[in-house]
Amino acid sequence: MTPAAPLRAEREEPRAQLHPGAASLALEHQRLARYLLAVRVTPYQIDKYIAFHRTRPLRPRSAFDALLMALARSGDLGLLLADAYSGTLYRASLLRVKLTLTLAILECSPPSFSAIDAPDRGGRLAYLHLSWAVLEAALVLVCACALLAPVHAWVTLTASRQQSDS
């Protein structure tokens, strides 16, 4: 992927907001934007991300949903695995909501919207590039399933047992 702006080694300090958890939301938005498009976000985009959470507080829907978010927050590899699993097998996840929100903000505002508009490769190379992207995604999904499917099943089973006991 071609980043819209060069990444710098040092982190940019997020703008302070009056919303509780604003600083962590700012960092979260930066991470998700970097993950999705290899772009840096602007203070305006961070403000909009925080504003959404102010109007619609988001909570995990289940214990597994919370676990998926924790995995996503653990690092770049965790985010990759959590995204792969939720994209195919747990589509109503909190992580997907946040990723979709991040994408929507990026596509509506500068400078990131131009990164979305440009293809990576033109002509016939596009098919090779797409094939590689699909293969890479499939491998990640296999790893994600190996790690998360048993956990998902166990958490779901435990939750339903607790529900039937109560």
């Binding site: 994209g87 508009d117 590039h129 992207a133």
Partner: protein, 538 residues
């Protein structure tokens, strides 16, 4: 028919009825709730320039409360409704509806529902008018007159000419974007084979968008802002005609007024219309010479039912119709890897006609190449990781398209409008009850497969799991509750739109349609309203 002519509603039928009546020398009063359109932001900017220049682009595109953000949901549409058009569907407090089987949309905006239309102007053929009490020769002047007023672009010499009759006032087609041009070129290279083996015909769409300057309006500037509201009025909306009416000395516009019911005497002559101010809730009574219902099938039906109820008659209107629509996204394999075109027209530029054994078996397809629409609703539907979906999307953006497949409907007795009453017999809500025909799946499912095969034949892949049946009501093509017929019982209309048994009550909206072909009906609504006005006052 006498003055004053009181027209209820400023939508597509109301404004063209009014304009014709004014041109024929009548005094016209228009009652309208009339939520108004916001000012156009940066009218000379392209879509990407808007993103760069607006102080709050996320607010503009997603809404102040993110109301146009489409979050992951299996049932969501492929496009979010833009905030700049939220006024079109702004709710009227106290206007309560109980809808079963469909999710109807109402508009109380100036210009009505067509302020958010996609501009398709497809005249009904003579065969499609078979159930109407008049034929093509009586409706053609209405089509020609409206086309001259609003500017309709399209072709009369391509494969679709057999399905879209010619009328006067047609401008040359809108310039096709690269994707649409490629689709049409591929089809034309194999046209004979495709038409004979698939029974599909493809050609230029007929659009209320200007391919050149017309009557003081500029041609389409390909800014890509169609979905958010055409910034230079190249795409016609009824508010344009409303402004023309307002400049006429014989026209009186009463905004902020919700028509509730009318009163009539023992001779079935409408004497007064009663409306409420939406600001203060007070009721106001106005004399009527001729009353014209143009509030749309559902709202006009409510006014009529309320009027009858107050006269001691509780009844319902049957035969409500709605077009079923199916959305079929596709990828044009020849376009993969192409760069996205910023200079674009975002609504459909091509159409597909699929004839059947009977005229109402005709299926109508609209092909839209995805250009400037929001992408997050599409990306999050792909069953892969979000990062993968975005990477895939960026490389197939210029290859994406959508076919909107429209099916005809017929009148059935169990589809109806009524009023729910409280313990004292006063109406509380409009009841809308709609059920698709029992064998709908047998008609729709095979056609979906045929569309998929046809798309494959022109090099496009349509993933089966991404085809979606839109919820009933989403088409906003409601019709049929006061059907036109040569002779008929009370609560039908004659060929001139007169609502039986009333002498001076006209209905000029979709209520009067006795059948609902698959084509977008707005152009025919406007033509028929013009025809009715000529019949009444000409």
């Amino acid at each position: 028919m006498r003055d004053p002519v009181v027209v209820i509603g400023s939508g597509a039928t109301g404004v063209h009825f009014a304009q014709t009546a004014l041109e024929l020398g009548r005094k016209v009063v228009m009652l309208d709730v009339g939520f108004s359109k916001p000012a156009t932001a940066l009218p000379n900017a392209s879509l990407n320039q808007l993103k760069e220049q607006l102080p709050d682009p996320v607010g503009y595109f997603l809404g102040e409360e993110f109301e146009s953000l489409i979050l992951p949901d299996a049932s969501s549409e492929y496009y979010g409704f833009p905030p700049s058009k939220s006024y079109v569907f702004r709710e009227l407090p106290g206007y309560d509806v109980n809808a079963r089987g469909m999710a109807p949309l109402f508009s109380f905006a100036t210009g009505g529902l067509a302020q958010a239309w996609t501009g398709g102007c497809y005249p009904f053929s003579a065969a499609e008018l078979a159930d109407f009490p008049f034929g093509w020769s009586e409706l053609e002047p209405g089509y020609s007159e409206v086309a001259e007023r609003i500017g309709v672009s399209g072709s009369t010499s391509d494969a679709l000419a057999a399905f879209f009759p010619a009328h006067d006032g047609l401008l040359s087609p809108i310039e096709l974007d690269r994707h649409s041009r490629r689709l049409l070129d591929v089809y034309r290279a194999k046209q004979h084979t495709l038409s004979s083996s698939h029974g599909f015909y493809m050609g230029h769409a007929r659009l209320a968008s200007l391919s050149r300057a017309h009557r003081g309006r500029k041609a389409c500037s390909f800014s890509g802002r169609c979905l958010w509201g055409c910034p230079n009025q190249a795409l016609y909306t009824p508010s344009i005609t409303l402004e023309l009416c307002k400049s006429h000395p014989n026209f009186e516009y009463i905004g902020g007024a919700r028509a509730d019911h009318f009163r009539f005497d023992a001779g079935n002559r409408v004497t007064h219309v009663v409306f409420e101010s939406v600001r203060g809730g007070e009721s106001i009574t106005r004399d009527v010479g001729t009353l014209v219902l143009c509030a749309g099938t559902l709202a006009s039906g409510r006014i009529l039912l309320e009027s009858l109820l107050r006269a001691g008659v509780q009844t319902e209107l049957t035969g409500l119709m709605d077009n079923r629509q199916v959305l079929m996204p596709f990828v044009n394999l020849r376009q993969v890897g192409e760069a996205f075109e910023e200079r674009s027209y975002q609504y459909h530029q091509l159409a597909i006609g699929v004839p059947g054994e009977q005229p109402l078996d005709y299926v109508h397809g609209l092909i839209t190449a995805l250009t400037t629409a929001m992408i997050h609703p599409v990306v999050q539907t792909l069953p892969v990781a979000a990062r993968t979906a975005l990477a895939l999307f960026r490389n197939i953006h210029a290859a994406l398209g959508l076919v909107n497949i429209n099916f005809a409907d017929t009148r059935r007795a169990d589809n109806r409008l009524g009023l729910e009453l409280d313990a004292r017999g006063r109406s509380t809500r409009l009841l809308v009850d709609y059920h698709p025909e029992p064998h709908e799946a047998e008609r729709v499912t095979p056609m979906i497969k045929r569309f998929r095969k046809f798309l494959a034949a022109i090099g496009c892949l349509a993933p089966p799991n991404m085809t979606r049946w839109r919820a009933l009501g989403a088409s906003v093509h409601y019709a049929g509750t006061l059907p036109m017929c040569e002779t008929g019982p009370d609560l039908t209309t004659d060929r001139s739109g007169r609502c039986r048994p009333f002498d001076n009550l006209l209905c000029a909206d979709g209520s009067t349609f006795p059948a609902l072909p698959a084509k977008n009906l707005t152009f025919t609504l406007m033509a028929n309203a013009t025809r009715i006005a000529h019949a009444a006052f000409g």
